[in-house]
């Protein structure tokens, strides 16, 4: 069964900590994406990557960075966690164009205290 795996379902971190959210896919997908989801705001794209070592900013990249050293792994980094980064984080992957759909991970609910 093909899947996207996010390393943690729940995470609690302190303000100012550096936080790593890991995402791994086993489908040989070119594209990988990080979203955050907040009530009433829907899914907002943070960063995406079309290939290894390539990254592009999404709609809300401030306070985040990403790393894609291998095709199957896409990491989201919160350089200095803040309480307004408390959210549900969703990773997704897809083949290249045409876009026939994303496969999502189960999500990581991050709480910054």
């Amino acid at each position: 069964d093909v899947k996207v795996t996010q390393s943690s379902r729940y995470l609690v971190k302190r303000t100012g900590e550096k936080v790593f959210l890991e995402c791994v896919q086993d489908m040989d997908h070119e594209n990988m994406f990080w979203y955050r989801q907040d009530p009433g705001l829907g899914l907002r794209l943070i960063y995406f990557s079309y290939d290894v070592k390539m990254k592009e900013k999404g709609d809300i990249p401030e306070g985040y960075s990403v790393s894609r050293e291998k095709k199957e792994r896409f990491s989201l980094i919160l350089e200095s966690a803040s309480t307004n980064q408390t959210s549900m984080y969703l990773c997704a992957s897809s083949f290249g164009a045409p876009n026939y759909g994303y496969t999502f991970g189960s999500g990581t609910r991050l709480t910054v205290v």
Binding site: Y50, L90, N99, G107
Partner: protein, 113 residues
């Protein structure tokens, strides 16, 4: 940036009834997709309809697409309590080279037993 808008934002029905959700979008598209999200989980791809298709079926799901009105509808027939979830439409914009889907904010369906 969000293109799709689901309507209504919330729907509550009885088990066995049909549920209809609508989605409107703004730009020309290659395809439109519907996703389901169970509470606290990732999104799951349900069905895709291409821009040159008008209707598509998958099990109890029926999707229609009207590109002249830039709208789509998702019909779930004979609903079950297990259909309780949030539903999102997502469009694949017809703007060369873009491989990002654009998601709506989602709508919550509650099916009461």
């Amino acid at each position: 940036s969000q293109q799709g808008e689901e309507d209504p934002q919330a729907l509550s029905i009885q088990e066995g009834e049909n549920a209809t959700m609508n989605c409107s979008y703004k730009t020309s598209i290659n395809n439109l997709q519907w996703y389901r999200q169970n509470s606290g989980r990732g999104l799951v791809h349900l069905i895709l309809i291409r821009s040159n298709e008008r209707e598509k079926h998958s099990g109890r799901l029926r999707v229609t697409l009207d590109t002249s009105k830039k709208s789509s509808s998702l019909l779930i027939t004979a609903s079950r309590a297990a259909d309780t979830a949030s539903y999102f439409c997502a469009t694949d914009p017809d703007q060369g080279g873009s491989e990002k889907l654009v998601f709506g904010k989602g709508m919550k369906l509650t099916v009461n037993p």
